[in-house]
Symmetry: C2
Subunit: 213 residues, 2 copies
């Protein structure tokens, strides 16, 4: 099976993946945490996060699906925040044992030596291009898939270059009124996907798309 580039995100009816006024205090923007309520109420999610309780419903199987991921890609913003927040000693938001347990490729303009943290969390900093980060991630993933995990700006770059093979929208039918759009204007006009499957769960509709060439 060919390795694919995957992406998934919770998105509002008005197209935002984070609310307005994102900051280190409000990493998801104002109101943005409402996009993730469907997940944070799941027993499966809470158990992973070391929390008791929660529910099991139609969203559980979607949350727990096996994506066969062998490497991750993220943007500089997801690793350390916005412009001017680069700090060569910064090890990310996740402490000394991040929850990834996979090779992570960080797309950035800043050169930096690899950062190897506990739990097989190996960060490599890639400074040339989205394609270069993807090529390195695919090499690390072998025949498993690569997943780009954010933020919105980096994901948009991969979409614009036609590199996202399959993606899952968790559509939350609320409006946030502003914030970070997944598909910001101007975008490219010629992407074509096929909606492979849909699951309607409490508070969210999951739509899976695969690229049509």
């Amino acid at each position: 099976m060919t390795s694919k580039l995957l992406y998934s995100v919770s998105i509002s009816l008005d197209g935002y993946v984070a609310g307005p006024s994102q900051s280190r205090d409000h990493p998801l923007g104002v109101g943005g945490e409402r996009l993730h309520e469907w997940m944070r109420t799941l027993a499966a999610w809470r158990s992973n996060a070391g929390q008791a309780g929660g529910v099991e419903n139609e969203n559980t199987a979607v949350h727990e699906r096996d994506e066969n991921v062998g490497a991750l890609v993220m943007g500089r913003g997801m690793f350390c925040g916005g412009p001017g927040q680069w700090d060569p000693e910064w090890i990310g938001w996740w402490g000394t044992n991040p929850p990834f347990h996979l090779p992570v490729f960080v797309l950035t303009h800043h050169e930096r030596a690899p950062l190897n943290l506990e739990g097989d969390n190996d960060f490599t900093f890639v400074t040339d291009s989205a394609e270069a980060a993807l090529a390195q991630a695919k090499a690390a993933a072998g025949d498993r898939n690569v997943k780009v995990i954010g933020g919105a700006f980096t994901v948009a770059q991969f979409f614009r270059e036609g590199l996202i093979d399959e993606f899952l929208l968790h559509l939350v039918p609320i409006t946030l009124g502003g914030g970070a759009r997944l598909f910001a204007d101007p975008f490219r006009a010629d992407l074509r996907y096929k909606n492979e499957w849909v699951v309607v769960g409490p508070g969210v509709t999951h739509l899976y798309f695969a690229r049509e060439d």
Copy 2:
């Protein structure tokens, strides 16, 4: 049954209901007609439009559902085009016997006497507010529903004022790269809907939303 305000629209993955550069020559903008291909290939649609051929598939039942509509609302732009294109003699784009066969309320800043065309196409021009147009349409519809049919600017006004009770998105998984957004920035942050049902058909996914109060 209480009369509701309904809306339906074909929308791209990147959130556009028309492509860029809309004009009288390109009323749907560049590439915008691709949003309607799922419908124009249906035998049911073609038959209504006096055209032979076409297919029957999962999209047919969605296209032919009975919405129990008793009156329509549209914006000035849909009736006559953009700013500066108001013409007191203009009877709309649809000839002397338009396809509506219902009372139509046109929201505009221009006073005009009612226009009564063949086939029970009675246009009333409402100059005060979206609420006023809706109130007049509801009076005309009795216990049937009212439907707002465009354009995007007028529909956004009804959404912003929290007046849309139920709406159907025909999500076409392509990107248009620009154009008229259904949910343009800035929007209101507190609308909540429930996804009542979903149908995945060839080339389009239909998502029906009802307002949650």
